[in-house]
Amino acid sequence: MKGLIKSVAGLVAALLIQIFVPYVDGENLTEYPLGPIRLSGNDLYKILLIGLAIFWVILWMVSQKNKTKKKIYQKKSSRRLALGLALAAWDIAGSKFQLLPQPFFPGPAGIAQAFLEDGSAIWENTLYSVRLFAWGFILGAVIGIVTGVLIGYYAKAAYWVEPVLNICGVLPAVVWMPFALILFPTSFQAAVFLLVICVWFPVTSLSALGIMSTPKVQYEAAQMLGASKLRQIFTVAIPHALPQIFTGIITAEAFSFTNLVMAEMMGQPGGLGYYINASKAWSAYYKVFAAIVVMAIMFSLIKWGTDKLQNSLLRWQKGVVK
Protein backbone atom coordinates (compact mmCIF):
# COMPACT_ATOMS: atom_id res chain seq x y z
CA MET A 1 0.00 0.00 0.00
CA LYS A 2 2.81 2.37 0.89
CA GLY A 3 4.49 1.55 -2.39
CA LEU A 4 1.32 2.31 -4.32
CA ILE A 5 0.75 5.64 -2.59
CA LYS A 6 4.35 6.64 -3.16
CA SER A 7 4.20 5.64 -6.81
CA VAL A 8 1.04 7.54 -7.58
CA ALA A 9 1.68 10.55 -5.33
CA GLY A 10 4.19 12.08 -7.72
CA LEU A 11 1.82 11.83 -10.65
CA VAL A 12 -1.00 13.33 -8.62
CA ALA A 13 1.25 16.27 -7.76
CA ALA A 14 2.09 16.69 -11.43
CA LEU A 15 -1.57 16.56 -12.35
CA LEU A 16 -2.59 19.12 -9.72
CA ILE A 17 0.08 21.50 -10.88
CA GLN A 18 -0.98 21.08 -14.47
CA ILE A 19 -4.59 21.81 -13.57
CA PHE A 20 -4.28 24.58 -11.03
CA VAL A 21 -1.14 26.56 -11.79
CA PRO A 22 -1.87 29.07 -14.53
CA TYR A 23 0.48 29.89 -17.39
CA VAL A 24 2.47 32.99 -16.57
CA ASP A 25 1.90 34.37 -20.06
CA GLY A 26 -1.61 32.98 -20.34
CA GLU A 27 -0.39 30.80 -23.18
CA ASN A 28 -3.14 29.05 -25.03
CA LEU A 29 -2.36 25.88 -26.83
CA THR A 30 -4.34 25.18 -29.95
CA GLU A 31 -6.76 22.30 -29.85
CA TYR A 32 -6.46 19.56 -32.43
CA PRO A 33 -9.01 16.94 -33.32
CA LEU A 34 -8.26 13.46 -32.08
CA GLY A 35 -11.00 11.12 -33.19
CA PRO A 36 -14.31 12.61 -32.13
CA ILE A 37 -12.88 15.05 -29.58
CA ARG A 38 -10.62 18.06 -29.66
CA LEU A 39 -7.58 18.15 -27.44
CA SER A 40 -4.79 20.54 -26.60
CA GLY A 41 -1.31 19.52 -25.42
CA ASN A 42 -2.45 20.21 -21.87
CA ASP A 43 -5.30 17.74 -22.19
CA LEU A 44 -3.09 15.07 -23.71
CA TYR A 45 -0.51 15.53 -20.98
CA LYS A 46 -3.21 15.16 -18.35
CA ILE A 47 -4.53 12.04 -20.03
CA LEU A 48 -1.05 10.52 -20.12
CA LEU A 49 -0.52 11.28 -16.42
CA ILE A 50 -3.80 9.65 -15.52
CA GLY A 51 -3.07 6.72 -17.81
CA LEU A 52 0.29 6.13 -16.22
CA ALA A 53 -1.25 6.32 -12.75
CA ILE A 54 -3.85 3.74 -13.71
CA PHE A 55 -1.14 1.53 -15.16
CA TRP A 56 0.77 1.67 -11.88
CA VAL A 57 -2.35 0.85 -9.90
CA ILE A 58 -2.95 -2.22 -12.04
CA LEU A 59 0.69 -3.21 -11.75
CA TRP A 60 0.37 -2.88 -7.99
CA MET A 61 -2.68 -5.12 -7.90
CA VAL A 62 -0.97 -7.76 -10.00
CA SER A 63 2.18 -7.58 -7.89
CA GLN A 64 0.28 -8.26 -4.68
CA LYS A 65 0.04 -11.94 -5.55
CA ASN A 66 3.75 -12.58 -5.61
CA LYS A 67 6.22 -11.71 -2.88
CA THR A 68 9.13 -11.01 -5.19
CA LYS A 69 7.06 -8.84 -7.48
CA LYS A 70 5.68 -7.01 -4.48
CA LYS A 71 9.19 -6.26 -3.32
CA ILE A 72 10.27 -5.06 -6.76
CA TYR A 73 7.23 -2.80 -6.95
CA GLN A 74 8.00 -1.40 -3.52
CA LYS A 75 11.63 -0.87 -4.44
CA LYS A 76 10.80 1.03 -7.58
CA SER A 77 8.24 3.29 -5.92
CA SER A 78 10.77 5.92 -4.83
CA ARG A 79 11.88 6.30 -8.41
CA ARG A 80 8.30 6.61 -9.53
CA LEU A 81 7.69 9.31 -6.95
CA ALA A 82 10.78 11.13 -8.21
CA LEU A 83 9.57 10.82 -11.79
CA GLY A 84 6.22 12.37 -10.87
CA LEU A 85 7.86 15.21 -8.98
CA ALA A 86 10.29 15.76 -11.82
CA LEU A 87 7.38 16.06 -14.24
CA ALA A 88 5.70 18.54 -11.91
CA ALA A 89 8.88 20.59 -11.60
CA TRP A 90 9.41 20.48 -15.34
CA ASP A 91 5.85 21.60 -15.95
CA ILE A 92 6.39 24.60 -13.70
CA ALA A 93 9.79 25.50 -15.07
CA GLY A 94 9.15 24.66 -18.71
CA SER A 95 5.52 25.64 -19.24
CA LYS A 96 3.91 27.46 -16.37
CA PHE A 97 6.52 30.01 -15.29
CA GLN A 98 8.79 29.57 -18.30
CA LEU A 99 11.89 29.62 -16.16
CA LEU A 100 13.77 27.49 -18.65
CA PRO A 101 15.04 29.35 -21.71
CA GLN A 102 12.30 29.30 -24.31
CA PRO A 103 11.71 27.95 -26.92
CA PHE A 104 14.62 25.63 -26.28
CA PHE A 105 13.11 23.76 -23.35
CA PRO A 106 9.36 23.37 -23.68
CA GLY A 107 7.32 21.87 -20.85
CA PRO A 108 5.66 18.45 -21.02
CA ALA A 109 2.39 19.89 -22.33
CA GLY A 110 4.30 21.55 -25.16
CA ILE A 111 5.75 18.24 -26.18
CA ALA A 112 2.36 16.58 -26.00
CA GLN A 113 1.21 19.36 -28.32
CA ALA A 114 3.70 18.21 -30.94
CA PHE A 115 2.09 14.77 -31.03
CA LEU A 116 -1.31 16.31 -31.61
CA GLU A 117 -0.08 18.74 -34.19
CA ASP A 118 2.24 16.45 -36.09
CA GLY A 119 1.18 12.99 -34.99
CA SER A 120 1.03 11.36 -38.38
CA ALA A 121 4.32 12.89 -39.53
CA ILE A 122 6.03 11.65 -36.38
CA TRP A 123 4.56 8.22 -36.91
CA GLU A 124 5.72 8.03 -40.52
CA ASN A 125 9.18 9.22 -39.67
CA THR A 126 9.36 6.70 -36.85
CA LEU A 127 8.50 3.90 -39.22
CA TYR A 128 11.17 5.11 -41.58
CA SER A 129 13.78 5.15 -38.83
CA VAL A 130 12.74 1.71 -37.65
CA ARG A 131 13.15 0.34 -41.14
CA LEU A 132 16.56 1.91 -41.57
CA PHE A 133 17.71 0.88 -38.14
CA ALA A 134 16.47 -2.68 -38.53
CA TRP A 135 18.31 -3.14 -41.81
CA GLY A 136 21.52 -1.59 -40.60
CA PHE A 137 21.51 -3.19 -37.23
CA ILE A 138 20.62 -6.72 -38.21
CA LEU A 139 23.02 -6.75 -41.15
CA GLY A 140 25.79 -5.26 -39.05
CA ALA A 141 25.24 -7.71 -36.22
CA VAL A 142 25.23 -10.73 -38.52
CA ILE A 143 28.34 -9.62 -40.39
CA GLY A 144 29.95 -8.70 -37.08
CA ILE A 145 29.32 -12.08 -35.53
CA VAL A 146 30.62 -13.90 -38.60
CA THR A 147 33.78 -11.79 -38.76
CA GLY A 148 34.24 -12.06 -35.02
CA VAL A 149 34.02 -15.83 -35.10
CA LEU A 150 36.46 -16.03 -38.00
CA ILE A 151 38.95 -13.72 -36.30
CA GLY A 152 38.57 -15.46 -32.98
CA TYR A 153 38.94 -18.93 -34.39
CA TYR A 154 41.50 -18.52 -37.15
CA ALA A 155 44.70 -16.74 -36.19
CA LYS A 156 45.30 -16.01 -39.90
CA ALA A 157 42.05 -14.12 -40.17
CA ALA A 158 42.90 -12.13 -37.07
CA TYR A 159 46.29 -11.21 -38.54
CA TRP A 160 44.71 -9.60 -41.56
CA VAL A 161 41.44 -8.29 -40.26
CA GLU A 162 42.65 -6.77 -37.01
CA PRO A 163 44.51 -3.79 -38.49
CA VAL A 164 41.49 -3.06 -40.68
CA LEU A 165 39.26 -3.28 -37.64
CA ASN A 166 41.45 -0.92 -35.66
CA ILE A 167 41.40 1.68 -38.39
CA CYS A 168 37.70 1.42 -39.23
CA GLY A 169 36.73 1.55 -35.60
CA VAL A 170 37.85 5.12 -35.14
CA LEU A 171 37.15 6.71 -38.50
CA PRO A 172 34.44 9.30 -38.01
CA ALA A 173 31.24 9.05 -40.01
CA VAL A 174 32.39 12.07 -42.02
CA VAL A 175 34.88 9.85 -43.78
CA TRP A 176 32.48 7.08 -44.52
CA MET A 177 29.74 9.23 -45.95
CA PRO A 178 31.20 9.99 -49.38
CA PHE A 179 32.44 6.47 -49.62
CA ALA A 180 29.00 5.08 -48.83
CA LEU A 181 27.14 7.38 -51.18
CA ILE A 182 29.44 6.61 -54.05
CA LEU A 183 29.63 2.91 -53.41
CA PHE A 184 25.92 2.27 -53.19
CA PRO A 185 23.31 2.94 -55.82
CA THR A 186 20.66 4.30 -53.46
CA SER A 187 21.11 6.57 -50.49
CA PHE A 188 19.04 4.22 -48.39
CA GLN A 189 21.66 1.55 -48.92
CA ALA A 190 24.35 4.09 -48.14
CA ALA A 191 22.68 4.96 -44.85
CA VAL A 192 22.31 1.28 -44.04
CA PHE A 193 26.01 0.87 -44.76
CA LEU A 194 26.84 3.65 -42.32
CA LEU A 195 24.91 1.88 -39.60
CA VAL A 196 26.39 -1.49 -40.53
CA ILE A 197 29.87 -0.06 -40.10
CA CYS A 198 29.20 1.24 -36.63
CA VAL A 199 27.48 -1.93 -35.49
CA TRP A 200 30.07 -4.15 -37.09
CA PHE A 201 33.01 -2.79 -35.14
CA PRO A 202 31.94 -3.47 -31.53
CA VAL A 203 30.16 -6.71 -32.39
CA THR A 204 33.20 -8.06 -34.22
CA SER A 205 35.76 -7.16 -31.62
CA LEU A 206 33.72 -8.47 -28.72
CA SER A 207 32.70 -11.66 -30.51
CA ALA A 208 36.34 -12.30 -31.35
CA LEU A 209 37.27 -11.75 -27.71
CA GLY A 210 34.63 -14.25 -26.63
CA ILE A 211 35.78 -16.87 -29.10
CA MET A 212 39.43 -16.37 -28.21
CA SER A 213 38.77 -16.80 -24.52
CA THR A 214 37.27 -20.25 -25.00
CA PRO A 215 39.52 -22.61 -23.03
CA LYS A 216 41.38 -25.10 -25.18
CA VAL A 217 40.17 -27.92 -22.98
CA GLN A 218 36.61 -27.34 -24.18
CA TYR A 219 37.59 -27.81 -27.79
CA GLU A 220 39.55 -30.88 -26.83
CA ALA A 221 36.62 -32.30 -24.91
CA ALA A 222 34.44 -31.84 -27.99
CA GLN A 223 37.12 -33.40 -30.18
CA MET A 224 37.40 -36.41 -27.91
CA LEU A 225 33.66 -36.83 -28.23
CA GLY A 226 33.93 -36.95 -31.99
CA ALA A 227 32.96 -33.39 -32.95
CA SER A 228 34.31 -32.04 -36.24
CA LYS A 229 35.96 -28.60 -36.48
CA LEU A 230 32.77 -27.08 -37.81
CA ARG A 231 30.71 -28.60 -35.05
CA GLN A 232 33.24 -27.29 -32.54
CA ILE A 233 32.68 -23.77 -33.83
CA PHE A 234 28.93 -24.01 -33.61
CA THR A 235 28.56 -26.01 -30.44
CA VAL A 236 31.54 -24.80 -28.42
CA ALA A 237 33.04 -21.54 -29.64
CA ILE A 238 29.85 -19.63 -30.38
CA PRO A 239 27.89 -20.66 -27.28
CA HIS A 240 30.91 -19.84 -25.17
CA ALA A 241 31.23 -16.42 -26.78
CA LEU A 242 27.53 -15.63 -26.57
CA PRO A 243 27.76 -13.42 -23.46
CA GLN A 244 30.41 -11.27 -25.11
CA ILE A 245 28.52 -11.25 -28.38
CA PHE A 246 25.60 -9.81 -26.49
CA THR A 247 27.78 -7.20 -24.82
CA GLY A 248 28.91 -6.21 -28.29
CA ILE A 249 25.35 -6.03 -29.55
CA ILE A 250 24.22 -3.87 -26.65
CA THR A 251 27.13 -1.48 -27.07
CA ALA A 252 26.38 -1.33 -30.77
CA GLU A 253 22.76 -0.51 -30.08
CA ALA A 254 23.57 2.67 -28.21
CA PHE A 255 26.30 3.56 -30.68
CA SER A 256 24.26 3.03 -33.83
CA PHE A 257 21.34 4.89 -32.34
CA THR A 258 23.40 8.03 -32.07
CA ASN A 259 24.54 7.47 -35.65
CA LEU A 260 21.02 7.03 -36.95
CA VAL A 261 20.51 10.77 -36.78
CA MET A 262 23.60 11.34 -38.86
CA ALA A 263 22.70 8.68 -41.40
CA GLU A 264 19.37 10.37 -41.95
CA MET A 265 21.11 13.56 -42.96
CA MET A 266 22.38 11.68 -46.00
CA GLY A 267 19.67 12.03 -48.56
CA GLN A 268 16.92 10.27 -46.65
CA PRO A 269 13.35 11.38 -47.28
CA GLY A 270 12.33 10.78 -43.66
CA GLY A 271 13.22 9.40 -40.28
CA LEU A 272 13.35 10.77 -36.77
CA GLY A 273 16.79 12.27 -37.33
CA TYR A 274 15.45 13.98 -40.42
CA TYR A 275 12.49 15.22 -38.42
CA ILE A 276 14.71 16.46 -35.59
CA ASN A 277 16.92 18.40 -37.97
CA ALA A 278 14.03 19.90 -39.84
CA SER A 279 12.29 20.95 -36.61
CA LYS A 280 15.47 22.36 -35.20
CA ALA A 281 16.07 24.49 -38.25
CA TRP A 282 12.86 26.29 -37.47
CA SER A 283 13.35 26.21 -33.70
CA ALA A 284 10.33 23.98 -33.17
CA TYR A 285 12.01 22.46 -30.17
CA TYR A 286 8.82 20.97 -28.83
CA LYS A 287 8.86 18.77 -31.92
CA VAL A 288 12.52 17.96 -31.39
CA PHE A 289 11.69 16.76 -27.90
CA ALA A 290 8.72 14.80 -29.15
CA ALA A 291 11.02 12.96 -31.54
CA ILE A 292 13.47 12.33 -28.71
CA VAL A 293 10.68 10.88 -26.61
CA VAL A 294 9.85 8.54 -29.47
CA MET A 295 13.51 7.60 -29.83
CA ALA A 296 13.77 6.89 -26.11
CA ILE A 297 10.70 4.66 -26.29
CA MET A 298 12.07 2.95 -29.38
CA PHE A 299 15.41 2.40 -27.71
CA SER A 300 13.78 1.02 -24.58
CA LEU A 301 11.77 -1.41 -26.65
CA ILE A 302 14.83 -2.56 -28.56
CA LYS A 303 16.76 -2.94 -25.35
CA TRP A 304 13.89 -4.81 -23.77
CA GLY A 305 13.77 -7.17 -26.73
CA THR A 306 17.51 -7.76 -26.59
CA ASP A 307 17.29 -8.40 -22.86
CA LYS A 308 14.55 -10.96 -23.38
CA LEU A 309 16.56 -12.70 -26.08
CA GLN A 310 19.68 -12.58 -23.97
CA ASN A 311 17.90 -13.96 -20.92
CA SER A 312 16.52 -16.84 -22.87
CA LEU A 313 19.74 -17.65 -24.71
CA LEU A 314 21.94 -17.15 -21.68
CA ARG A 315 19.70 -18.74 -19.10
CA TRP A 316 22.56 -21.15 -18.35
CA GLN A 317 24.46 -18.17 -16.99
CA LYS A 318 21.87 -17.24 -14.41
CA GLY A 319 23.47 -16.98 -11.04
CA VAL A 320 27.02 -17.16 -12.38
CA VAL A 321 27.40 -13.47 -12.92
CA LYS A 322 25.82 -11.28 -10.29
Binding site: P101, Q102, P103, F104, M177, P178, L181, I182, P185, T186, S187, M262, E264, M265, M266, G267, Q268, P269, Y274, N277, A278, S279, K280, A281, W282, S283, A284, Y285
Partner: protein, 323 residues
Protein backbone atom coordinates in the same frame (compact mmCIF):
# COMPACT_ATOMS: atom_id res chain seq x y z
CA UNK B 1 49.25 30.27 -40.37
CA UNK B 2 45.59 31.01 -40.70
CA UNK B 3 44.31 32.02 -37.36
CA UNK B 4 47.30 32.79 -35.28
CA UNK B 5 49.01 34.99 -37.77
CA UNK B 6 45.76 36.80 -38.20
CA UNK B 7 45.34 37.17 -34.49
CA UNK B 8 48.85 38.42 -33.98
CA UNK B 9 48.38 40.88 -36.82
CA UNK B 10 45.38 42.43 -35.26
CA UNK B 11 47.06 42.44 -31.90
CA UNK B 12 50.05 44.27 -33.29
CA UNK B 13 48.00 46.77 -35.21
CA UNK B 14 45.76 47.57 -32.33
CA UNK B 15 48.08 47.45 -29.39
CA UNK B 16 47.33 51.02 -28.46
CA UNK B 17 43.65 50.76 -29.21
CA UNK B 18 41.37 50.57 -26.24
CA UNK B 19 38.96 47.67 -26.67
CA UNK B 20 35.81 49.36 -25.55
CA UNK B 21 33.60 46.32 -25.93
CA UNK B 22 36.02 43.67 -24.82
CA UNK B 23 36.26 40.36 -26.64
CA UNK B 24 33.49 39.69 -29.13
CA UNK B 25 32.91 36.31 -30.72
CA UNK B 26 31.68 36.25 -34.27
CA UNK B 27 30.91 33.04 -36.10
CA UNK B 28 32.26 33.18 -39.60
CA UNK B 29 34.64 30.35 -40.10
CA UNK B 30 32.54 28.18 -42.35
CA UNK B 31 34.67 28.21 -45.45
CA UNK B 32 32.15 30.08 -47.61
CA UNK B 33 32.45 33.59 -49.03
CA UNK B 34 29.22 34.91 -47.54
CA UNK B 35 31.09 36.15 -44.51
CA UNK B 36 33.64 38.02 -46.62
CA UNK B 37 33.01 41.40 -44.94
CA UNK B 38 33.67 39.80 -41.58
CA UNK B 39 37.07 38.50 -42.68
CA UNK B 40 37.94 41.76 -44.32
CA UNK B 41 36.83 43.82 -41.34
CA UNK B 42 38.94 41.57 -39.20
CA UNK B 43 42.03 41.54 -41.39
CA UNK B 44 41.91 45.23 -42.26
CA UNK B 45 41.49 46.18 -38.62
CA UNK B 46 38.06 47.76 -39.01
CA UNK B 47 36.81 45.92 -35.96
CA UNK B 48 39.77 47.10 -33.93
CA UNK B 49 39.19 50.66 -35.10
CA UNK B 50 35.70 50.43 -33.64
CA UNK B 51 37.04 49.18 -30.33
CA UNK B 52 36.05 45.58 -30.92
CA UNK B 53 38.38 42.74 -29.96
CA UNK B 54 36.85 40.24 -32.35
CA UNK B 55 37.49 36.55 -32.15
CA UNK B 56 36.33 34.50 -35.12
CA UNK B 57 34.84 31.11 -34.45
CA UNK B 58 33.26 28.33 -36.45
CA UNK B 59 29.68 27.54 -35.63
CA UNK B 60 26.84 25.73 -37.29
CA UNK B 61 23.43 27.33 -37.67
CA UNK B 62 22.23 25.85 -34.40
CA UNK B 63 25.15 27.17 -32.40
CA UNK B 64 24.75 30.62 -33.92
CA UNK B 65 21.08 30.71 -33.11
CA UNK B 66 21.61 29.77 -29.49
CA UNK B 67 24.56 32.10 -29.13
CA UNK B 68 22.49 34.99 -30.45
CA UNK B 69 19.61 34.07 -28.18
CA UNK B 70 21.90 34.01 -25.15
CA UNK B 71 23.85 37.07 -26.16
CA UNK B 72 27.20 35.29 -26.32
CA UNK B 73 27.28 36.03 -30.02
CA UNK B 74 26.23 39.59 -30.94
CA UNK B 75 25.73 39.23 -34.68
CA UNK B 76 25.92 36.73 -37.45
CA UNK B 77 25.26 36.55 -41.14
CA UNK B 78 22.28 34.47 -42.19
CA UNK B 79 19.36 34.16 -44.56
CA UNK B 80 15.69 33.58 -43.98
CA UNK B 81 16.57 30.54 -42.01
CA UNK B 82 15.90 32.28 -38.70
CA UNK B 83 12.50 33.72 -39.61
CA UNK B 84 10.72 30.68 -38.23
CA UNK B 85 12.91 30.77 -35.15
CA UNK B 86 11.92 34.36 -34.54
CA UNK B 87 8.33 33.26 -34.86
CA UNK B 88 9.11 30.67 -32.19
CA UNK B 89 10.35 33.45 -29.89
CA UNK B 90 14.08 33.02 -30.33
CA UNK B 91 15.55 36.37 -29.33
CA UNK B 92 17.05 37.35 -32.67
CA UNK B 93 16.34 40.06 -35.18
CA UNK B 94 17.50 41.24 -38.57
CA UNK B 95 19.39 44.50 -38.33
CA UNK B 96 20.92 44.85 -41.75
CA UNK B 97 21.58 43.32 -45.12
CA UNK B 98 24.85 41.78 -46.15
CA UNK B 99 24.85 40.79 -49.77
CA UNK B 100 22.84 39.36 -52.65
CA UNK B 101 22.37 35.89 -53.99
CA UNK B 102 24.63 33.02 -53.10
CA UNK B 103 22.27 30.11 -53.71
CA UNK B 104 21.62 28.24 -56.90
CA UNK B 105 19.46 25.38 -58.03
CA UNK B 106 21.60 23.13 -60.17
CA UNK B 107 20.72 20.43 -62.63
CA UNK B 108 23.17 18.20 -64.44
CA UNK B 109 24.60 19.68 -67.60
CA UNK B 110 22.34 18.92 -70.53
CA UNK B 111 19.39 18.04 -68.35
CA UNK B 112 15.88 18.27 -69.74
CA UNK B 113 14.80 20.29 -66.79
CA UNK B 114 14.71 23.96 -67.58
CA UNK B 115 11.71 25.35 -65.79
CA UNK B 116 9.97 25.04 -62.47
CA UNK B 117 7.22 22.87 -63.93
CA UNK B 118 9.81 20.40 -65.10
CA UNK B 119 10.60 19.79 -61.45
CA UNK B 120 7.16 18.33 -60.74
CA UNK B 121 7.75 14.88 -59.26
CA UNK B 122 11.44 15.61 -58.86
CA UNK B 123 13.75 15.03 -55.95
CA UNK B 124 15.60 18.12 -54.85
CA UNK B 125 18.66 17.96 -52.66
CA UNK B 126 19.11 20.62 -49.97
CA UNK B 127 21.60 21.07 -47.15
CA UNK B 128 18.95 20.96 -44.49
CA UNK B 129 15.19 20.55 -44.43
CA UNK B 130 14.01 24.02 -43.46
CA UNK B 131 17.29 25.70 -44.34
CA UNK B 132 17.65 28.59 -46.76
CA UNK B 133 18.14 26.64 -50.01
CA UNK B 134 15.03 24.71 -49.05
CA UNK B 135 13.06 27.88 -48.51
CA UNK B 136 14.44 29.57 -51.59
CA UNK B 137 13.52 26.61 -53.76
CA UNK B 138 10.07 26.43 -52.24
CA UNK B 139 9.47 30.14 -52.87
CA UNK B 140 10.60 29.89 -56.43
CA UNK B 141 8.57 26.78 -57.15
CA UNK B 142 5.40 28.14 -55.59
CA UNK B 143 5.83 31.42 -57.40
CA UNK B 144 6.02 29.42 -60.59
CA UNK B 145 2.96 27.33 -59.84
CA UNK B 146 4.52 24.21 -58.36
CA UNK B 147 3.37 23.02 -54.92
CA UNK B 148 6.37 22.65 -52.65
CA UNK B 149 4.78 22.44 -49.23
CA UNK B 150 2.13 20.31 -47.61
CA UNK B 151 0.70 16.89 -48.25
CA UNK B 152 0.05 17.69 -51.88
CA UNK B 153 3.61 18.81 -52.51
CA UNK B 154 4.78 18.04 -56.04
CA UNK B 155 8.46 17.73 -55.18
CA UNK B 156 10.47 15.86 -52.57
CA UNK B 157 13.29 17.49 -50.66
CA UNK B 158 16.19 15.36 -49.48
CA UNK B 159 18.80 16.59 -47.00
CA UNK B 160 22.54 16.26 -47.68
CA UNK B 161 24.67 17.56 -44.87
CA UNK B 162 27.64 17.89 -47.23
CA UNK B 163 27.30 19.94 -50.43
CA UNK B 164 29.81 17.82 -52.29
CA UNK B 165 27.80 14.72 -51.61
CA UNK B 166 24.74 16.56 -52.80
CA UNK B 167 26.49 17.17 -56.10
CA UNK B 168 27.58 13.57 -56.29
CA UNK B 169 23.96 12.54 -55.78
CA UNK B 170 22.98 14.96 -58.53
CA UNK B 171 25.49 13.50 -60.96
CA UNK B 172 24.52 9.94 -60.16
CA UNK B 173 20.85 10.67 -60.68
CA UNK B 174 19.88 10.07 -57.09
CA UNK B 175 18.39 13.56 -57.10
CA UNK B 176 17.14 15.61 -60.03
CA UNK B 177 18.17 19.03 -58.80
CA UNK B 178 20.32 20.46 -56.07
CA UNK B 179 19.56 23.67 -54.24
CA UNK B 180 23.01 24.58 -53.11
CA UNK B 181 25.20 27.25 -51.61
CA UNK B 182 28.25 28.85 -53.08
CA UNK B 183 31.06 28.16 -53.47
CA UNK B 184 30.18 24.51 -54.06
CA UNK B 185 27.48 25.47 -56.51
CA UNK B 186 29.64 27.91 -58.43
CA UNK B 187 32.46 25.40 -58.62
CA UNK B 188 30.11 22.77 -59.99
CA UNK B 189 29.09 25.10 -62.78
CA UNK B 190 32.69 26.02 -63.45
CA UNK B 191 33.59 22.36 -63.72
CA UNK B 192 31.08 22.06 -66.54
CA UNK B 193 29.18 19.21 -65.00
CA UNK B 194 26.18 21.22 -63.88
CA UNK B 195 24.19 24.21 -64.92
CA UNK B 196 22.04 26.63 -62.98
CA UNK B 197 18.29 26.31 -63.20
CA UNK B 198 17.95 29.16 -60.76
CA UNK B 199 20.50 31.71 -59.65
CA UNK B 200 19.01 33.99 -57.04
CA UNK B 201 21.51 36.62 -57.98
CA UNK B 202 19.70 37.04 -61.27
CA UNK B 203 16.21 35.60 -60.89
CA UNK B 204 13.33 38.09 -60.99
CA UNK B 205 12.03 37.30 -57.55
CA UNK B 206 15.33 37.46 -55.78
CA UNK B 207 17.44 39.78 -57.84
CA UNK B 208 18.36 43.04 -56.21
CA UNK B 209 17.33 41.65 -52.90
CA UNK B 210 19.53 40.59 -50.08
CA UNK B 211 20.16 36.92 -49.70
CA UNK B 212 22.20 37.17 -46.53
CA UNK B 213 21.12 39.46 -43.76
CA UNK B 214 22.84 40.45 -40.59
CA UNK B 215 21.13 39.14 -37.53
CA UNK B 216 21.72 40.54 -34.07
CA UNK B 217 21.07 39.26 -30.61
CA UNK B 218 18.16 41.09 -29.00
CA UNK B 219 19.89 40.71 -25.68
CA UNK B 220 22.99 42.54 -26.85
CA UNK B 221 20.84 45.03 -28.67
CA UNK B 222 19.05 45.88 -25.44
CA UNK B 223 22.07 45.95 -23.22
CA UNK B 224 24.64 47.37 -25.55
CA UNK B 225 23.21 48.81 -28.78
CA UNK B 226 26.48 50.70 -29.31
CA UNK B 227 28.33 47.46 -29.76
CA UNK B 228 26.01 46.34 -32.55
CA UNK B 229 26.32 49.71 -34.18
CA UNK B 230 30.08 49.51 -34.01
CA UNK B 231 30.02 46.07 -35.56
CA UNK B 232 27.80 47.25 -38.36
CA UNK B 233 30.07 50.24 -39.05
CA UNK B 234 33.05 47.95 -39.31
CA UNK B 235 31.20 45.61 -41.65
CA UNK B 236 30.06 48.47 -43.83
CA UNK B 237 33.64 49.60 -44.26
CA UNK B 238 34.55 46.08 -45.26
CA UNK B 239 31.63 45.89 -47.64
CA UNK B 240 32.86 49.04 -49.31
CA UNK B 241 36.35 47.60 -49.54
CA UNK B 242 35.11 44.44 -51.22
CA UNK B 243 33.02 46.46 -53.58
CA UNK B 244 36.06 48.55 -54.47
CA UNK B 245 38.60 45.83 -54.73
CA UNK B 246 37.29 42.31 -55.02
CA UNK B 247 40.70 41.03 -56.21
CA UNK B 248 42.65 41.95 -53.11
CA UNK B 249 39.67 40.98 -50.96
CA UNK B 250 39.79 37.48 -52.39
CA UNK B 251 43.53 37.41 -51.82
CA UNK B 252 43.23 38.49 -48.21
CA UNK B 253 40.57 35.86 -47.56
CA UNK B 254 42.56 33.14 -49.25
CA UNK B 255 45.83 33.97 -47.57
CA UNK B 256 44.20 34.29 -44.20
CA UNK B 257 42.93 30.76 -44.63
CA UNK B 258 39.34 31.78 -44.02
CA UNK B 259 38.24 29.98 -47.09
CA UNK B 260 40.12 27.17 -48.78
CA UNK B 261 39.96 28.98 -52.10
CA UNK B 262 41.69 27.07 -54.87
CA UNK B 263 40.42 29.18 -57.72
CA UNK B 264 41.02 32.86 -57.05
CA UNK B 265 39.31 34.05 -60.23
CA UNK B 266 36.11 32.34 -59.35
CA UNK B 267 36.28 33.79 -55.86
CA UNK B 268 36.56 37.27 -57.34
CA UNK B 269 33.67 36.60 -59.65
CA UNK B 270 31.54 35.41 -56.77
CA UNK B 271 32.41 38.41 -54.64
CA UNK B 272 31.36 40.65 -57.44
CA UNK B 273 28.12 38.80 -58.03
CA UNK B 274 27.13 39.19 -54.40
CA UNK B 275 26.98 42.94 -54.89
CA UNK B 276 28.27 43.98 -51.52
CA UNK B 277 26.77 47.41 -50.91
CA UNK B 278 28.90 50.53 -50.77
CA UNK B 279 28.90 52.87 -47.81
CA UNK B 280 26.83 55.23 -49.85
CA UNK B 281 24.19 52.64 -50.48
CA UNK B 282 24.01 51.91 -46.79
CA UNK B 283 23.70 55.54 -45.85
CA UNK B 284 21.17 56.44 -48.46
CA UNK B 285 19.02 53.52 -47.42
CA UNK B 286 18.22 52.84 -51.02
CA UNK B 287 18.28 49.17 -50.31
CA UNK B 288 15.46 49.00 -47.81
CA UNK B 289 16.16 46.08 -45.54
CA UNK B 290 12.84 46.22 -43.76
CA UNK B 291 10.93 46.12 -46.97
CA UNK B 292 12.86 43.11 -48.16
CA UNK B 293 12.38 41.27 -44.88
CA UNK B 294 8.69 41.99 -45.11
CA UNK B 295 8.61 40.77 -48.69
CA UNK B 296 10.16 37.43 -47.83
CA UNK B 297 8.04 37.08 -44.70
CA UNK B 298 4.93 37.55 -46.81
CA UNK B 299 6.12 35.05 -49.34
CA UNK B 300 6.93 32.50 -46.66
CA UNK B 301 3.56 33.08 -45.03
CA UNK B 302 1.81 32.53 -48.32
CA UNK B 303 3.31 29.14 -48.84
CA UNK B 304 2.78 28.16 -45.22
CA UNK B 305 6.35 28.26 -43.93
CA UNK B 306 5.38 30.97 -41.49
CA UNK B 307 2.12 30.76 -39.62
CA UNK B 308 2.04 34.40 -38.52
CA UNK B 309 1.18 37.07 -41.07
CA UNK B 310 4.12 39.30 -42.00
CA UNK B 311 2.52 42.41 -40.61
CA UNK B 312 2.33 40.90 -37.15
CA UNK B 313 5.81 39.51 -37.33
CA UNK B 314 7.74 42.35 -38.91
CA UNK B 315 8.46 44.17 -35.67
CA UNK B 316 10.15 41.12 -34.33
CA UNK B 317 11.82 40.25 -37.60
CA UNK B 318 13.47 43.59 -38.14
CA UNK B 319 14.93 46.14 -35.78
CA UNK B 320 16.40 49.39 -36.97
CA UNK B 321 19.78 50.17 -35.56
CA UNK B 322 21.23 53.65 -35.76
CA UNK B 323 24.87 53.74 -36.67
Amino acid sequence: SANTSATSDSEASSEDTEYKYGEVQIPALDGALCGAPIYIAYENGYFAEEGLDVKLISADAETRKIGLNDGTIPITNGDYMYFQSIEQDVDVTVVDGLHNGCIKILVPKGSDIDSAEDLIGAKIGVDEIGGTPYQVSSLWLENNGVKANGNDAQVTFLPYSDGNLQLEALYSGEIDAAAIWDPVGAKAIASGKAEALLDIGTDDIFADKYCCFIYASNKVLDENPEEIAALLRALHKASQYINDDPESSAKIISEGGYSEIDDIDMAVELLQSYQYPTLEEFESGERDVKEQVQFFAEQLYDIGYLSTPADELIDRLYTKVDY
